[in-house]
């Protein structure tokens, strides 16, 4: 799946790189009756940038994508491309490439005709569109699949045909709805890398929807996290991981326990079972210098497990032990109903062992309520 195809000339052409500039949603809101599916969401995706819209089901991420594509009209707010308002432009005149969750390949056409469909709609001659369709198929590693019926393709192949079909029209932006969710786990990991490589090569704004934060972390440059129609945070994966803006963001990113803390500025005090520890914290941008209620995220790689009883350590009992590649992850039940995951290189401890847990240097993310 390497080598730039002729069909994707735009992405190779330096002057034209990025089509018509960034795709932006400006305060878009969409209501379905009483229900507000998307509530005042704004973000911008630059040329060549990959933004993942992440959220649980019902968070409004697909509706947001559909507004970007033009299948839904926002009740308020605007969609712009390169600064030009395209809110009222119908999908057939936006020139975006869209990959649907179930691919939406036309079952009555062979692979080639599926890929060439967008060119046919643009009145490209039969010979030209065949040449371009073949090139696009080659770019996704399916050069020999042209005359095959859609029904004979595997899930991964269907996904690549859908991608080729979206790319061949030299789109102004690429929109992908759960592009990885229908693939089996092995294929899914391989496709993450391929997808990222291909989207980067095209050089237009790319927006993709996923409910899987691992997919988002692996593929996206930036992540927009949605919950109940509201945008919680937009940022790079590192920002979301290390400096979540809220408890909700931290909870969604997962991989850690969120425990109450007393905010002291650059540190915070966490007390478990009467043992108080001061931890270095990163404060999210824009929060008050001293929070009334605050929480600290204890990540498995920022804690240390020991079988000896330290005075300043939190005491607990191993509830669960899980082998995770190079490390063992222990779930430890501490006092006050708090449990934490701890990574350890040593596999000596076992379930029901009494252990002590100490925080490493940090810094630990501090989040408000």
């Amino acid at each position: 799946m390497t080598g730039a195809p002729d069909g994707l000339a735009r992405s190779e052409n330096k002057d034209d790189k990025g089509g018509r500039g960034p795709l932006a949603l400006n305060g878009v809101t969409r209501r379905f009756g009483e229900f507000t599916a998307v509530d005042n969401v704004s973000f911008e995706v630059g040329p060549g940038e990959l933004l993942a819209l992440v959220g649980a089901s019902g968070s409004g991420k697909t509706t947001t994508l559909r507004m970007a594509a033009g299948y839904e009209a926002p009740d308020s707010g605007t969609v712009t491309l390169g600064g030009k308002d395209i809110t009222r432009v119908p999908p057939e005149r936006r020139g975006f490439g869209m990959v649907f969750q179930h691919y939406a390949l036309f079952p009555h056409m062979p692979v080639e005709d599926n890929v060439a469909f967008g060119l046919e709609a643009r009145g490209v001659s039969k010979v030209d569109r065949l040449v371009k369709a073949r090139a696009a198929l080659a770019s996704v590693g399916l050069e020999d699949a042209g005359s095959r019926p859609i029904q004979s393709l595997s899930g991964g192949e269907q996904q690549r045909v859908a991608l080729a079909r979206a790319l061949v029209i030299e789109p102004q932006a690429l929109l992908l709805d759960e592009p990885l969710s229908n693939l089996d786990p092995t294929l899914r990991h391989a496709m993450r890398d391929d997808l990222r490589a291909m989207l980067r090569r095209v050089g237009v704004p790319a927006l993709f929807v996923t409910h899987d934060q691992e997919d988002a972390f692996a593929v996206a440059d930036r992540i927009a996290l949605l919950k109940k129609g509201k945008l919680l945070q937009v940022g790079t994966p590192e920002e979301l991981y290390n400096a979540p803006l809220s408890r909700e963001v931290a909870a969604f990113i997962g991989r850690g326990s969120i425990v109450p803390a007393i905010d002291k500025g650059s540190t915070a005090t966490v007390t478990i079972g009467g043992v108080a520890r001061d931890l270095n914290v990163t404060r999210p941008k824009g929060v008050a210098p001293h929070l009334e209620t605050a929480f600290v995220v204890l990540r498995p790689d920022a804690l240390e497990l020991s079988r000896s009883a330290g005075v300043l350590a939190w005491r607990g009992r191993i509830a669960n032990r899980r082998f995770a590649g190079g490390v063992i992850v222990y779930r430890v039940q501490l006092a006050d109903g708090i449990s934490v995951d701890v990574e350890s290189l040593s596999g000596e401890a076992h379930e029901d062992d009494n252990v002590s847990i100490s925080p490493l240097k940090g810094p630990f993310p501090l989040v408000p309520t």
């Binding site: 999908p91 005149r93 079952p107």
Partner: protein, 550 residues
Amino acid sequence: MKASARRQSWLIALPVMALLLWTVVYPNVAVIAGSFENGLGHWREFAASPADREALWTSLVISVASVFASLAIGVPLAFLLGRFEFPGRRLLRAVATLPAALPPLVGVIAFLFLYGESGLVTRVVQRALGMAEAPWRLKGVGAIVFVHAYTMYVYVFLFVSAGLERFDATLDEAASGLGANTWQRLRRVTLPLLMPAVAGSALLVFMNALGSFSAPYVFGGGLRVLSTQILASKINGAMGLAYVETTVLALSAVAGLVLFRWLDSKRKYTLASKGGRTRRTIRSRPIQVLMTVASAVIVMALVLPHLMVILVSFARDGAWTTQVLPPEYTFENYRRLFTEAELWKPITNSVSMALIATAANLVVCFIAGYLIVLRKFGGRGLLELLVALPWAIPATAIALGLAATFNRNDLLTGRVLLVGTFWILPLAYFIRDIPLVASAVESSLRQMDASLEDAARGLGASWMMTMRRVILPAARPGLVAGGLLAAVTAVGEFVASVVLYTHSNRPISMEILAQLRALAFGTAAAYSVLLIFLVLLMTLAARSFEERLA
């Protein structure tokens, strides 16, 4: 499958197969053989007869025209109701399938009362335009296709509506995202994907129109079609020629079937049942008004035949001559139906013959469906063919086959004298409804997990207990639905009846025709209303039976 199980399958299958071979295949073979009884003589006679050549040609023209007329009404209506939201949509949807509820002959009569020379609509137009004569005559190919379009567009409408409902809306969105405009999407995506539904319903219309008897019989005037030609030859005693005409009619039907199957065989995809498209609400005020007015007109056109039959059923016989509407109304027609033995007889005849035929359908089709779906034995393909066969043969041909076979007692050639007795009509109804009931039973059984039978046997249940407690409950929805359809079609059956009835077993449809000929419009209409009422009653009975069991 073990040898003992295979032997058991054959043991159950043989009586059913023998019955079907005897009653379905044998009569048709007898017709074909009869057409050659003096070599090619009858065939030469057919080929030399201008009337027969005209009949063949007219039959084909009417069938093809009926297909196009039904498509022209059914497809746009399905799109309109499936894709758009407008005031009046629900009412239009509710009455859109109403024409299918009219027994064939009743539909024809209703059209006569509305659009015939002295019909309501004809008279209104005539008066409005101040014409001395009726503005049109309800005769010939046009009139037949008109009635066919009204009753048969329902197939197209139902098939295409179902196709649209299953249509994956994201395919349409994908096409628009790729830059296709409305027309390009319709031509390249929506219509090609609806082709199976369109082709399937077109085939149904073609087969129905080809075998149609009532419309050509009542409106034909001097027009000849194959089905009426067959009856005419039989009445004239030219049985040899009737056999040739029947064979030609059946061959035309089979040719149509093969042609449609061949056209459909190039398709390799099925519609994923996803749907999910919401109807687009029409917001433009003028278009909204236009669509509401249009649907009001369509609703009127669809309901008018039913209303007209009800109205005329209260008209005093003989009083309605040149007036726009019948001038005198009375309950007399209904009173006579229930009090005069001669008029009551057809009603008991129809009901008892329909029930006998349906009961036989339920038994035979349950066994056939069980064998076809759940038993993988060597005779399965043959059995499938046997139960589907009556569908491909027009009813007139089935009836003539029975007339040719069961006309004397001759055990050596497997003939029993049934013609002229009560039993010939229940037999004809039974044969006509086999495909209907069998396919309903099969589809019910296909939804059952095939391992349930094994599980029951594994738990120690006997074969009888497995049938009673596992298979029969699984087949029940199909038996109820198929049985209802069979009873409804049998109680109003006309096409086979007109070939085979005698005075003592005459069904309602024949009595309607007799009353019509005697110009007793009120009585004919009262019978028609009664028929509609019987259909309604059976539907309600089937529904409450199903609810009580479920």
